[in-house]
Amino acid sequence: MTDVVDIVGLTKRYGELTAVEDVSFTVRSGRVVGLLGRNGAGKTTTLRMLLGLARPTSGRATVFGHPYAQLTRAAHRVGVSIDGIGPTGAGSAQTDLRIWAKTLGLSRTRVDEVLEQVGLAADGHRKLRDYSQGMRQRHALATALLADPELLILDEPANGLDPDGIRWLRELLRSLADEGRTVLVSSHILAEVEQMADDIVILQKTLRYSGTVADLTQNGGVSLESRFFDLVGPAVKENAHA
């Protein structure tokens, strides 16, 4: 298996504050990788640096062997849903998706397909401001799926989903991985990640773990939650910036 994502010595500082420090890990092709960490642990910052939305203070991050900005047809190969990236404000979900589809040079039928895929086919005409949090998550996922990408990068996609939605998301991500796609998904919901992920990366500003779920949990002998808290240590009050 080849490395789809390669992060080496990644550090991000905002003045005196260090959001991410010397983080290195890889994501292998065809795997579902759970990116775990507390609020402010640097998960989103790491993903933003990977995508070239934020400039690293030091280190490098590549997707399919290249920095995202230099990757040919990057938008068609990588689908993204990250906290803070919103819709265009174009009104309905369908209109918003059509704008992004146009940006990608895709047809309108692809919009209908992804709306169907995320379970919003009947609600595509509705205004996005009238969507529930769960529907917005599905909409963000639809945007990420538009180009039928090889790699999906999802930041807290289960936030706001109800139990049915969480199960649907797990099954969707697993099915995408079964098709040979790679999924890098950050989450707070440890039990969910344990069920869907092949590999785990744990961040708490620095890298605490990168490897398989099986190794981390000793083939199920120890819970992911227990191992997570062992690795990140006790919660301390600190400035969160990630």
Binding site: V80, T88, K102, T103, G105
Partner: protein
């Protein structure tokens, strides 16, 4: 690139900002023209030359420039506000490409406003002088005034987008635009005319024949406008390529 420009074009016209700004601009222009005529006919029993009145009624439509600038600015800053700018960058094939597409789209937006204002401005002398003894007299000066008005509307849209890219925050950007339009240019022109006439707003006034004696000649005003747009583009591009996105 064509798809990217088309997508940026759709973003500009999405939402209600454009027609609100356009309606406000039309209202302001109508009120300005009506006010001018009322003053003109009230001040003297024999009003000015109808050729001058015709050109002044056409010139009154320069205020659409502000609407075009606001619409372009809102289209840009809205993306920074809702975070869509990050997706735009991710899907567009690079920040430089996206910036170029945005500037092309806002230039087109400015052209739409310019065409609309051009039609209304050209019709306004006949509308406002209807039922009066005077007939509109269209001259070469009126034509140049109309073209000047249309040009500054296009330039205004590009300038609004550039300010939006530089400032990123919608309210701050709009306040900056309004303050610079209503206070800075005019104030500097009164206090330091040599500097004031070099501001973008006073250079625009030269192009649509604003009538102030301290203004630049039209060729020099065009050079100054080009310099402002070039400087704004370089600054916006530099910041857009380097700064982290929200």
């Amino acid at each position: 690139m064509r798809d990217l420009v088309a997508a940026e074009w759709r973003k500009i016209w999405a939402g209600r900002a454009w027609w609100g700004a356009a309606a406000a601009a039309v209202l302001m222009c109508v009120m300005a023209d009506a006010g001018f005529l009322q003053q003109e006919f009230a001040s003297a029993p024999e009003p000015s030359d109808t050729r001058e009145i015709t050109s002044t009624l056409v010139q009154g439509w320069f205020m659409v420039e502000l609407a075009a600038a606001v619409v372009a600015m809102v289209a840009v800053t809205r993306e920074f506000g809702n975070g869509a700018i990050s997706r735009s960058v991710l899907l567009s094939g690079g920040r430089g490409r996206l910036l170029a597409a945005k500037l092309i789209a806002v230039t087109g937006c400015g052209a739409v406003f310019a065409l609309g204002a051009g039609v209304l401005a050209a019709a306004s002398p006949w509308v406002f002088l209807a039922g009066r003894a005077q007939e509109p007299e269209w001259t070469a000066t009126t034509t140049w005034t109309l073209l000047g008005v249309m040009l500054v509307i296009v330039v205004g849209a590009v300038w609004g987008a550039l300010l939006g890219l530089l400032i990123r925050h919608q309210v701050a950007a709009i306040l900056t635009l309004l303050i610079s339009t209503w206070l800075v240019g005019e104030g500097l022109l009164r206090l330091l005319p040599e500097i004031g006439r070099l501001t973008i707003d006073e250079a625009m006034a030269s192009v649509y024949r604003g009538g102030h004696e301290d203004l630049l000649s039209i060729p020099w005003a065009l050079v100054v406008l080009a310099a402002w747009i070039l400087a704004g583009t370089i600054a916006a591009r530099t910041l857009f390529l380097r700064r982290d996105l929200p």
